[in-house]
């Protein structure tokens, strides 16, 4: 039988495809970013308004804030709050999630509570925390953590429900005991759920932290945005927003993604 030309598939190796795809991706990112900048500059030039500054003015503002040290001070404080709230929420949320996923009775009982907290608007938690605990750092971080805990718990509960019975029986037969089972059997199965919770968590936490700062903290990016709002200083608002986006992206690329890659290295 003759082999028709159009049914031949050639393997990728040696055709330089993988390399090309990578360069192509980076190239597209740069092009898309530059296009956005140009578009922004053009619109700003047409508007000619103090309330719609162009990229150059915002860049100026960013540099002057950085030079005075203000930028690093406020971004640093906000990051500290994000980290504290994030860690607290992950630890407590994971513990609750695992417990609910494993104990059916507890799950039935607490489900209503979880739904209540899931649907409680962030602003309500924040206001109540400030009212009950005063305008303190602890109240601020608590408010953020409470907003985040139910999401983490629900995600991790899903994982705990789907734990493999097969592997559990295996660890029972070979007498792994509690800690060995937790470390080598249970937690690795939950890792993807932790990662999903962490990912969604960071995005949510840093947005809520800004609101918390705006409402009751004398410093941080949220408070700077508040000042920018009162002075109608749009350059300042955008400068801080951009600084923050950059920081979050750097954390994503340099911390979260390598961690995830490490956790997934056993996959085919």
């Amino acid at each position: 039988m003759a082999l028709e030309n159009n049914t031949i598939r050639t393997g990728r190796v040696g055709r330089g495809i993988t390399g090309k795809v990578l360069v192509g991706r980076l190239g597209w990112t740069v092009i898309s970013f530059l296009t956005l900048l140009v578009l922004w500059a053009v619109v700003a030039a047409i508007m000619q308004s103090r309330l719609f500054p162009g990229p150059l003015e915002v860049g100026d503002k960013l540099l002057s804030e950085a030079a005075s040290g203000e930028l690093f001070y406020h971004v640093g404080l906000t990051l500290g709050r994000v980290a504290a709230a994030f860690i607290a929420a992950m630890a407590i949320g994971c513990a609750i999630g695992i417990a609910l996923g494993r104990a059916k009775g507890a799950d039935l009982f607490f489900d209503t509570w979880l739904i209540f907290f899931l649907n409680l608007p962030a602003l309500v938690t924040i206001i109540l925390c400030y009212v009950w605990f005063g305008l303190t750092e602890t109240a601020a971080i608590l408010a953020v953590a409470i907003n985040k805990i139910p999401n983490v718990a629900v995600t991790v509960r899903e994982g705990a429900r789907s734990l493999s019975r097969d592997l559990n029986e295996m660890s029972e037969i070979y007498r792994f005991g509690f800690w060995k089972t937790l470390r080598h059997v249970t937690l690795p199965q939950l890792a993807p759920f932790f990662a999903a919770a962490a990912r969604g968590g960071l995005a949510l936490v840093w947005k809520i932290v800004l609101v918390v700062e705006l409402l009751g903290r004398p410093n941080g990016v949220g408070e700077q945005l508040h000042i920018g709002f009162q002075l109608f200083d749009v350059s300042m608002i955008l400068a801080y927003a951009i600084a923050f986006i950059v920081v979050v992206q750097v954390i994503e690329l340099c911390v979260l993604q390598p961690l995830e890659a490490r956790a997934n290295r056993w996959r085919r």
Binding site: D166, L167, E169, M170, E172, I173, Y174, F176, K180, H184, V185, P188, A191, R265, W266, R267, R268
Partner: protein
């Protein structure tokens, strides 16, 4: 003390009704005495309760009426399941090391030795999902043997392998078993496999299932490795089916 390693008595094992399925009595009046160092193979039609019986013996299923008695206090068990059940996030060597105590003095050496024995030395640092099914089964077999169990339970451990792989695993099992006498309870569908491995063959049947046949298989170690002899013995044993 007699020479029995294990006695499994199941007066009755019932699975409760689930949704559309009525309650089911699976096993009834099963009394199985397993002699020390014997290789007991259990066969029977699909769904008759072989895995259920093995799970009861292993202590994985405690919802039954009856009892399981061991001659030795705190007998060490190994279980080789139908699927390899290796931890995908640990390497082959780690998977095997984990079933030994953390402070086991020559643990690493034992792992290396058993991996060599099953021909997996090269794959020691590989993750299980990157291995063929046959190699994963080898790793599971190594894990079952490395603890030097008093009693080894096996539930169709070689199904869905191609003939040469299954055969080489069986040969390996015979060798391992011969070098360290262990009491084995082995479930299979495959009658040739049953004759090749068993010193005693048990057939379950009926509904609810009970022991319907209990035969000693008298073949020497060499004869077991001879396919002709095994097939001839099988013919004699099961004459027309």
């Amino acid at each position: 003390m007699d020479s029995n390693a294990l006695r499994v008595t199941v007066e009755e094992k019932t699975f409760p009704a689930v949704e559309d399925r009525p309650e089911q009595v699976v096993l009834s009046a099963v009394d199985l005495n397993v002699e020390e160092g014997s290789f007991v193979v259990i066969t029977g039609p699909s769904g008759c309760g072989k895995s259920t019986l093995l799970n009861i013996a292993a202590g994985l299923d405690e919802d039954y009426r009856g009892q399981v008695a061991f001659s030795q206090a705190n007998a060490k068990l190994s279980f080789m399941f139908q699927t390899p059940r290796l931890l995908p996030w640990r390497t082959v060597a780690q998977n095997i090391r984990l079933v030994l105590d953390d402070d086991c003095p020559d643990g690493d050496k034992r792992v290396a030795a058993i991996l060599d024995r099953v021909g997996l030395s090269e794959a020691a640092t590989a993750y299980p999902e990157r291995l063929s099914l046959g190699m994963q089964r080898r790793a599971a077999l190594a894990r079952a043997f490395v603890v030097e169990p008093d009693i080894l339970l096996m539930d169709e451990p070689f199904v869905s392998l191609d003939d040469p792989s299954a055969d080489s695993l069986r040969t390996l099992l015979i060798e391992l078993w011969a070098s360290k006498p262990t009491t084995v309870l082995f479930v299979t569908h495959d009658r040739t496999e049953a004759v090749m491995l068993a010193t005693r063959l048990i057939r379950l049947g009926g509904k609810p299932a009970a022991i319907v046949q209990d035969t000693a298989i008298e073949l020497s170690a060499d004869e077991r490795l001879d396919r002709e002899k095994v097939l001839a013995y099988r013919m004699r044993l099961f004459d027309n089916d």
